[in-house]
């Protein structure tokens, strides 16, 4: 085992640093009036969410709104810098990864405790990871991060080593997420539904005071919390006494409630309503979600999409700038790679360009000739595809439909519910899958694209790109990983496995009373530094 002292994590971002710094300009933190103001302790912040998924257990949730609540209740082994992607100590005061990324050794800081007073020791880390494995499918994110875990060695109270039976470079970043956030050992024996209902003991700056599904969750400041990561805006207890997350499902109600000061902040303002909050007592903060951008995954087991020319032609026919300019918020930008610009190891992919003429040439090469109705055809078959999707705004794909029509491709759309989309996908005959996936680690590419993985969104045979995806998971050398990720992305685009469209972003709108409500590296909300002025 070659030790990589934690300092090496500093090089994690490498070439992407400049770009990330650029993206970070837009994510300086909630409250434009923050600069120079002296933070005030105390008070309650009311934050509106749109959906309640009936569960707030950090180790089980996967929905953005539930994550906003859950994230505040747990501390993690590591923390990730939102600007550089660098992983640094939180509950673990240091960590080491071996060369082939199969073994991760953590040294725990002395002092931190769970909310019931028990110390956060090595044995409790083991208990947590085992509990997540036991939750299995219920911990849909966490159990993915732990896939391949072979053993957990507890050397003494402060030293724990996690071993995998295959390379798993993503695990280090996973330890910074809420999904692997630490809960008191006694919680491991609570039932899955008790934990969902908020009956868990955390380790973070806030604890659950009450949770009424569909109505509200109230978090109270954890007295004695004193183990914030060095990168945090302050040390010690959280500044707010409490946070009230109210569930407001109706978009118009969220807008009106914020305008009339019945809530202090929300991330659920419709893009069309954002203009109402420009200045005049409100401020907005935007950050792109890291991970895989919104993209179309061609189903390569269908005859027409087996042809690389067709897939690449579709990608080249999409005018991404037109989509973001006409349909999305002022801060939203088009996809510049398969990964979004806030993802560690992000680099621009120049081959991703709008070039309808090249698209037409590719289609002619494959024998698709323009028919009388403007749709291309070959051997009597139309160049027509269908896609079922639920993601808002639904107009994005409607514009893609118009753009593809220009080069003679007919894209049929069906806007539906999540359940319908998943049922359609289960048949395996749908032409495309549409979606994004948030994760601040490039291994997210392997999750969705790898032909050797369980998802295999392209329904394809393994090839060169899968070797690259496996290789990036197996190296803890940051420069090497950067190179491999870039090469994999280039192949994904040039072979048309991914048809990227735009970057999902999160916009928080706050009243000017709210300060320092920020995004963490995964674009989840962080209330630890937040404060509220009278």
């Amino acid at each position: 085992m070659t030790p990589h002292p934690r300092r090496t994590a500093g090089s994690i971002a490498l070439g992407s640093v400049a770009l990330l710094a650029l993206a970070a300009c837009a994510s300086a933190g909630g409250g434009a009036a923050t600069a120079g103001a002296t933070p005030v302790d105390g008070g309650n912040l009311t934050f509106a969410i749109s959906v309640d998924s009936q569960c707030i257990d950090p180790q089980q949730v996967g929905n953005n709104d539930a994550i906003a609540i859950a994230r505040q209740t747990v501390a993690s082994l590591t923390t990730q810098d939102p600007e550089t992607g660098e992983l640094s100590p939180w509950l673990a005061e240091s960590f080491e990864v071996n060369a082939d990324a199969t073994s991760f050794a953590f040294t725990l800081a002395e002092g931190p405790t769970y909310a019931d007073g028990t110390p956060i020791d090595a044995a409790s880390v083991k208990t947590n990871l085992e509990a997540i494995q036991a939750l299995g499918a219920k911990a849909s994110l966490g159990s993915t991060y732990l896939s391949g875990l072979s053993s957990i060695e507890v050397a003494d109270a402060r030293h724990v080593t996690v071993n995998f039976d295959r390379p798993s470079a993503q695990f280090l970043q996973a330890t910074s997420t809420f999904s692997l956030g630490l809960l008191a050992p006694v919680t491991a024996s609570a039932s899955q539904e008790e934990r969902c209902a908020g009956d868990f003991i955390g380790s973070g700056p806030f604890s659950v005071e009450s949770y009424t599904p569909d109505q509200e969750a109230v978090l109270a400041k954890r007295p004695g919390y004193d183990w914030a990561p060095e990168s945090a805006g302050h040390q010690g207890e959280a500044r707010l006494d409490s946070i009230t997350f109210v569930v407001i499902p109706e978009a118009g109600n969220r807008t009106g409630s914020l305008q009339s000061a019945q809530i202090d902040a929300t991330a659920g303002i419709a893009p069309t309503d954002l203009v109402l909050f420009e200045g005049d007592g409100f401020s907005t903060t935007n950050r792109a979600n890291p991970g895989v951008v919104y993209n179309l995954y061609p189903n390569e087991s269908t005859p027409k999409l087996q042809d690389e020319n067709v897939r690449v032609a579709i990608s080249k026919s999409i005018d991404r700038a037109e989509i973001t300019e006409t349909l999305l918020g002022a801060d939203d930008i088009e996809a510049r790679a398969v990964l979004s610009s806030t993802t560690p190891f992000f680099a621009d992919q120049p081959s991703l360009e709008f070039d309808p003429e090249a698209a037409e040439t590719l289609l002619e090469e494959s024998g698709w000739e323009l028919g009388d109705d403007g749709v291309r055809e070959k051997d009597g078959e139309k160049l027509a595809f269908s896609v079922t999707y639920w993601q808002s705004p639904k107009e994005v794909l409607e514009l893609v439909q118009q753009q593809l029509r220009v080069v003679g491709i007919d894209l049929q759309l069906k806007f539906s519910t999540i359940a319908d989309v998943q049922a359609a996908q289960a048949t395996g005959t749908e032409d495309f899958l549409y979606g994004n996936l948030t994760r601040a680690d490039p291994d997210v590419l392997r999750t969705v694209f790898s032909a050797r993985g369980t998802q295999n969104n392209n329904h394809r045979e393994a090839g060169e790109v899968d070797d690259l995806l496996d290789a990036q998971a197996a190296t803890s050398d940051q420069a090497e990983r950067q190179k491999l990720v870039g090469e994999a992305e280039t192949l994904l685009i040039e072979q048309g496995h991914s048809i990227p469209i735009y970057q999902l972003s999160t916009t928080i709108v706050t009243s000017d009373r709210v300060h320092e409500l920020t995004f963490e590296a995964s674009s989840r909300l962080d209330f630890y530094d937040a404060w509220i002025s009278e």
């Binding site: 953005n64 109505q215 009106g256 009339s260 995954y297 999707y389 049922a423």
Partner: protein, 317 residues
């Protein structure tokens, strides 16, 4: 009377069974299942098939349809409707936890709807001027056809966002009940007014009313002394529908006003194919419907002595 009640009880049980079975079939036939939704998370388009299979096994969705149905039905007979696939709690507990909130909403909206509906129906036939009668009788169709979420948003915009008289969300205190119950009472009251005013108009054309007028009864005496009592019967017949409409109305009202309740619960449950929770709500709604109809039928003889409940069935003597 006892035989009548026994028969009604059997009918009621049949309705409950039918509601349970139909909702089971519909939910089963709808595309998508709870396992795929749970495994897919909130954003990722793709799902891990192995994960879905594990969840399907956990929820029992991998068994044959008839087996799922018979075991579920057998348990339902012991009032166990299964476990919510979203939260893991018992479905009956999930529903009964929010029932008081919906009951409070319905219990304030219903009297409001009855008062407004009856008043509007009487005013639209009783008013002295023809133009006023016409104007008033145009209101119920309007109230029925305007979307209730729009009414809700208008009320919010004016009374909550602008005047800040009432909160825009939540279940706390009577103040949070005012706007939702008004929003819910409008379509329900309009529906009642529509039925009652039509039946009043028909009654007022009856020969016995002519007779009463000829005998010199004034308009008020004709209305309240003679017509109303008879006109009320058709409206009462539809009480079950009215209560059903009220329950259905809570879905939109609770969503717009961010209130906890059965309506909100059922929306999330349908969207995530949480069959146990949906079925608990459906059976509960059917039970309310059955009980309302029974109460109404038992009330008829008290209102109109010509109607009596005999051994076999309701007889209009």
């Amino acid at each position: 009377m006892n035989r009548y009640l026994a028969k009604r009880l059997l009918q009621g049980l049949f309705v409950l069974w039918a509601a349970y079975t139909l909702s089971f079939l519909i939910l089963y036939l709808l595309p998508g299942d709870a396992a795929a939704i749970q495994a897919g998370g909130a954003e990722n388009g793709g799902v891990d098939p192995a994960l879905v299979e594990r969840l399907r096994a956990e929820y029992g969705l991998d068994r044959p349809l008839w087996e799922q149905y018979t075991t579920a039905l057998a348990r339902a007979l012991t009032l166990d409707f299964g476990t919510s696939t979203q939260s893991g709690t018992a479905a009956t507990a999930a529903v009964s936890a929010v029932l008081p909130q919906t009951f409070a909403l319905a219990a304030t909206a219903l009297p409001l709807a009855v008062v407004v509906g009856v008043a509007l129906a009487i005013a639209s036939t009783f008013a002295r001027w023809r133009w006023l009668r016409q104007a008033l009788s145009a209101l119920p169709p309007l109230g029925v056809s305007v979307p209730s979420f729009w009414i809700g948003l208008l009320l919010l915009q004016f009374f909550s966002f602008r005047l800040r008289l009432f909160p825009s969300m939540g279940n706390e205190g009577w103040a949070s009940l005012v706007l939702p119950s008004v929003a819910l009472a409008i379509p329900t009251g309009a529906f009642l007014a529509q039925i009652l005013s039509r039946s009043l108009r028909q009654t007022l054309e009856q020969p016995y009313i002519e007779l009463a007028r000829a005998k010199g009864a004034g308009s008020a005496r004709v209305h309240f002394g003679h017509a109303l009592q008879n006109a009320v019967i058709p409206a009462l017949t539809l009480a079950g529908v009215l209560v059903g409409q009220l329950l259905a109305g809570t879905v939109v009202t609770e969503t717009v006003f961010s209130r906890v309740g059965v309506g909100r619960l059922v929306v999330t449950a349908v969207n995530s194919r949480d069959i146990p929770v949906v079925q608990t709500v459906v059976v509960f709604a059917a039970l309310v419907f059955v009980l309302t109809s029974l109460v109404v039928d038992l009330l008829y003889p008290l209102i109109d002595r010509r109607i009596s409940v005999t051994g076999a069935s309701l007889v209009n003597a």
